[in-house]
């Protein structure tokens, strides 16, 4: 894949993103925190503004022109998204506020109906808190037991005992890619193993969807969640995708307007999919913005996005290794083809917080902390890492700036 002709011109793409023109502490910003949240292209901001400036009205219930237009834009974004991830039908696409809500929805609506005392819930040691806490809450409610797939020293899932771990499990939930290690997990293989054991497979695709083609048919999972703000979309919107048969079978999540067919003073009848799971006025402008983000990414071609990131990741690893040698540890797999453009760094003698602070003086944005993956941090034996992550608008020059800034941090604390 790294040999694919590089058709992305990151320097040109940069101009699509207004926030990348920001001057920070006298330097043009070098934004290396897209794994936390990506910047937004003009196309997305304009789509939302245009909606608000011309056609805003509440959706689904209005007869008048702008209400119809608002509904069409909102439901149109659902069709765009369904195509973007190769879903079978737009009935399977449920809009939420973020992937955290998507995963809570599964843990509650599916979980309460399907998990009982003694059943096992399997997740992994590299999950984000968003894919741990909802299941811990489910286990506490139901008396289910929690199990996890451990992480190996080189940052992969240790699948040697997978079948044993899956024995008695009702659900296996895993991230498609680690937001700390960059590791890409073998989603299809994990889903197949879950199914062989009679469990459903849930995928946290928050770090996948922004960076490579997401093909739900190929992934073979039963539920998958994404979050808009990491994939050029606005804050305030996420998606839960689920198999129609499963979504049909489980009870609603939140109750309120739009998720009902009828309400009496003492009870209600739920609506059909997908609205059954969309209670209240949805994030209309945000969904429209997410649709525009999918169009923007499709325009760049996801395979090229991926090729660009592999190139950049490989370059970064080479440059940093050459410059810092043993003084710098990069967590996770060494092969750029086996990982995302997420580099969790440990620099000798300098705490991640201090790295981030010193880098900020040079306009370089990297995240320092536990990245909402505390169990994984314990596994790595660190309290925090400094994480640099790349996206479509980053170029080799940004890597060079990072390396320079890391040098000065290292010098400062020598």
């Amino acid at each position: 894949m790294a040999s694919v002709a590089m058709t992305l011109d990151a320097n040109c793409i940069k101009r699509d993103f207004p926030a990348l023109e920001r001057i920070v502490n006298g330097h043009l910003i070098t934004y290396l925190d897209s794994a936390a949240s990506s910047q937004k292209p003009w196309a997305v901001l304009r789509a939302m503004d245009n909606y608000y400036e011309t056609t805003h009205a509440n959706v689904h219930r209005g007869v008048y022109t702008t209400a119809v237009e608002a509904t069409e834009r909102y439901e149109g974004a659902r069709v765009i998204f369904a195509r973007f991830v190769n879903a079978n039908s737009k009935r399977e696409v449920i809009f939420t506020k973020n992937v955290t809500e998507s995963l809570n929805l599964v843990a509650q609506s599916w979980g309460n109906a399907n998990v009982g005392p003694g059943d096992a819930i399997l997740y992994t040691e590299m999950e984000h808190h968003a894919n741990l806490v909802p299941w811990q809450m489910l286990a506490a409610r139901t008396g289910a037991v929690l199990r996890y797939v451990p992480v190996t020293d080189d940052g992969h899932l240790d699948l040697s005992n997978l079948d044993t771990l899956l024995d008695g499990a009702k659900v296996f939930t895993f991230t498609a890619a680690s937001n700390v290690l960059g590791t890409i997990n073998p989603v299809r293989q994990l889903a197949d193993a879950a199914h062989r054991a009679g469990a459903i497979a849930v995928c946290d695709a928050a770090q996948l969807a922004p960076h490579m083609t997401m093909d739900l048919q190929a992934m073979g999972v039963d539920f998958a969640g994404i979050t808009g703000h990491k994939m050029c979309g606005p804050t305030g919107v996420g998606v839960l995708w689920g198999r129609e048969s499963l979504l049909d079978a489980i009870p609603p999540f939140l109750g309120g307007g739009d998720m009902i067919t009828d309400v009496h003073i003492d009870g209600f009848t739920p609506n059909e999919l997908p609205w059954k799971f969309e209670a209240g006025t949805p994030p209309i402008a945000e969904v429209i913005g997410l649709g525009a983000a999918c169009d923007y990414l499709s325009g760049l071609v996801l395979d090229d996005v991926r090729a660009h990131e592999i190139d950049l990741t490989g370059y970064a690893m080479d440059v940093l290794e050459a410059r810092f040698g043993d003084r710098l540890k990069i967590h996770g797999p060494r092969d750029p083809n086996a990982r995302m453009g997420v580099l969790s760094l440990a620099l000798e003698g300098v705490h991640p917080h201090d790295i981030s602070q010193v880098l900020d003086q040079q306009g370089v944005c990297v995240r320092a902390g536990h990245h909402c993956a505390k169990p994984l941090m314990r596994r790595l034996g660190v309290g925090a890492t400094a994480r640099a992550s790349f996206y479509v608008y980053n170029e080799r020059h940004d890597v060079d700036t990072l390396a320079e800034a890391l040098s000065s941090a290292s010098d400062f604390f020598k």
């Binding site: 502490n25 705490h351 917080h353 201090d354 602070q357 902390g369 309290g383 400062f412 604390f413």
Partner: protein, 151 residues
């Protein structure tokens, strides 16, 4: 945006590289309290020994950034040997320097008349609001420990 030198004074880096009072104490008679900074994951253990009315020993364990480690180190030096009452005044004065005030605080009241000495070096942290949690982690953890002795 203030510069790095406002934050990382010489003396802070010195305490970071040569932390005072690192280690553990036997529990009991000492008390151990643990603190965590939920934002970054830094963890600290503060051991406090009190005899009669006096903080006779303090030791620090755990890991953290230069600000949290140096603040812990300076704190240990500042409160060791003080009476519980005086130690509390130091905590209060330090937190006031960090712009953290107890509920009911009168903004016009003069700051407690306490010499913070080396700790003054941490004054620059106020200009970096996210780092205030780093600077105060050890202090909050120490205060919890003290509470154990006056229950």
């Amino acid at each position: 945006m203030p510069g790095l030198e406002d934050l990382y004074r010489e003396i802070i880096l010195d305490h970071y590289k040569n932390p005072r009072n690192r280690g553990t104490l036997e529990v009991p008679p000492a008390h151990r309290s643990d603190g965590v900074n939920p934002l970054c994951g830094d963890e600290i253990a503060v051991y406090v020994q009190v005899e009669g009315d006096t903080v006779t020993d303090v030791k620090i364990g755990g890991q953290g950034c230069s600000i949290s480690q140096s603040s812990a180190s300076m704190m240990s030096a500042a409160v060791k040997g003080k009476s519980i009452k005086d130690a509390r005044l130091v905590i209060k004065a330090f937190k006031a320097m960090m712009s953290i005030h107890e509920p009911g605080h009168d903004p016009d009241a003069p700051p407690p008349d306490i010499k913070l000495g080396d700790l003054e070096a941490l004054k620059g942290v106020v200009k970096f609001p996210v780092r205030i949690k780093c600077a105060t982690l050890a202090w909050n953890t120490f205060a919890q420990g003290l509470d154990q002795f006056v229950k």
